[in-house]
């Protein structure tokens, strides 16, 4: 092995994406030992992401650095099925990242605080003691199988999370709760920089949408997510994306292509015994936009601080670990459920209603239009949704 590692760490984190690296950083920062296992050769690759984040979202976690910023985002343009569009500029600024560099920066930050990162380290099982309690992780590194003992395991292993399943957390997604995605990174196009664009419609992206995230004035991530229950044989996401490209960017040069899946449910089941899940593994993704970088980092902070507290108090009980999910619930629980209830409504809207929605929003003065106003218009199309929303808010208030 190229690196000397111990046989015991307080915590083993599986996966070195943003959620895993932030978790590890907060564990290390709070004085506990932590090993991060990354299956791939380096953090951040392959990039399965549209790479958009809000400025305010990442600010608490890392100093803004030009080296992982491709472009600055000031607003969004939503395209209705009939071709009409609205621009929104009042939701805060954001960035299109270079995730390869960003993920490495987060991993480096964790390591600078004392975390140990091991790449090409593929976790294959959770080890249990005689009493059946999880006491470590078995991973494969090249042809060696290595056992590490630990007190807490954190699964940051993405949408396909195996850690959750090994621990007995049911992480399997319904087809209606996953978007199946395809993305091209294209060059030689002319687009408006600073503006993310979204295209909706049954014929364009059934149960999802097409996005354009500019990386510069001539380069962009152009991708599509469609509902997992909306596919028909021979018509996966790429079928619709190619149709879109032929129509809108026939001369684009497609440099990279990736596939991926995005969970679109409001996850609420992240803890079992001494195992915690964070990020996509815990389905901590905005169910409407599919954005999950910031959510994963927030969860990472809560999970990391909670794990360190449990280790230091030498009390790895559910009661202590539950602090993580309680903090998540307090900060994002109601919002995630709100987005989820809107998602089902929004994605089920027939094209005519989507057209009406955009036409209604066009009447709102440009400088007043924001996501909140858009949702208010969405609710007008369906009063039942209002009842659902009220319920979700009341439930969350009662819990507090």
């Amino acid at each position: 092995m190229h690196k000397k590692i111990n046989s015991y760490y307080d915590v083993v984190v599986i996966g070195a994406g943003p959620a895993g690296s932030v978790t590890a950083r907060f564990i290390a920062e709070n004085g506990c030992s932590v090993l991060v296992l990354e299956r791939d050769r380096e953090p951040g690759i392959p990039v399965r992401c549209a790479e958009g984040v809000s400025h305010n979202g990442i600010l608490p976690f890392i100093d803004i650095d030009e080296k992982w910023i491709c472009s600055k985002i000031l607003g969004a343009r939503l395209h209705a099925p009939n071709g009409e569009s609205i621009d929104m500029y009042n939701n805060g600024d954001g960035y299109v990242l270079d995730r390869r560099v960003f993920d490495r920066a987060l991993a480096d930050l964790a390591v600078s605080k004392g975390a140990i990162l091991l790449t090409k380290a593929d976790a294959v099982a959770l080890n249990k003691d005689e009493e059946g309690k999880i006491c470590g992780v078995k991973f494969r590194h090249e042809n060696d199988y290595i056992d590490i003992n630990c007190k807490i395991v954190i699964g940051a292993d993405g949408v396909e999370s195996q850690v959750g399943r090994w621990a007995g957390i049911d992480t399997s997604l319904a087809l209606s709760d996953i978007d199946t995605c395809c993305q091209y990174t294209v060059n030689n196009i002319k687009i408006e920089n600073g503006l993310c664009q979204f295209y909706f419609g049954r014929e364009i992206a059934p149960g999802g949408y097409i996005w354009i995230f500019p990386k510069s004035e001539t380069q962009a991530n152009i991708g599509i997510g469609i509902g997992g229950d909306a596919t028909i044989p021979g018509k996966g996401p790429r079928f619709y994306l190619d149709k879109f490209m032929d129509k809108n960017f026939p001369n684009a040069s497609i440099n990279y292509m990736v596939y991926g899946g995005v969970p679109t449910r409001a996850g609420n089941n992240f803890i079992k015994d001494n195992v915690m899940l964070v990020g996509d593994a815990a389905h901590q993704v905005n169910p409407i936009t599919g954005g999950g970088i910031v959510q994963g980092m927030i969860a990472g902070k809560f999970a990391g601080e909670t794990a360190a507290k449990a280790i230091k108090e030498n009390n790895i009980s559910q009661k202590v670990l539950k602090e993580y999910s309680n903090r998540w619930e307090d900060m994002l629980g109601a919002n995630q459920r709100f987005m989820y209830s809107i998602k089902n409504k929004f994605m089920d809207m027939i094209d005519e209603k989507l057209n009406n929605l955009v036409m209604a929003c066009k009447k709102i003065p440009q400088d007043e239009l924001n996501l909140y106003k858009l949702f208010k218009e969405t609710i007008k199309e369906d009063p039942i949704l209002l009842a659902k929303l009220a319920t979700s808010f009341v439930v969350s208030k009662l819990k507090v």
């Binding site: 791939d40 399997s172 996953i178 997992g228």
Partner: protein, 55 residues
Amino acid sequence: MKVDKNLCDVCGTCASVCPIGVITIREFDVIIDNERCIKCNKCIKVCPAQAITEE
């Protein structure tokens, strides 16, 4: 289930919907344990690369 390795992007979307967890994702491989597979076909439906077929 059969995975066409030339089409598969190893993105893990199939594993996320498998109701019994018989799909393992490695750095360059997707492995489906056909002994335990219940043939629900969710992975076929959701695979963005359309790389999975019934055997």
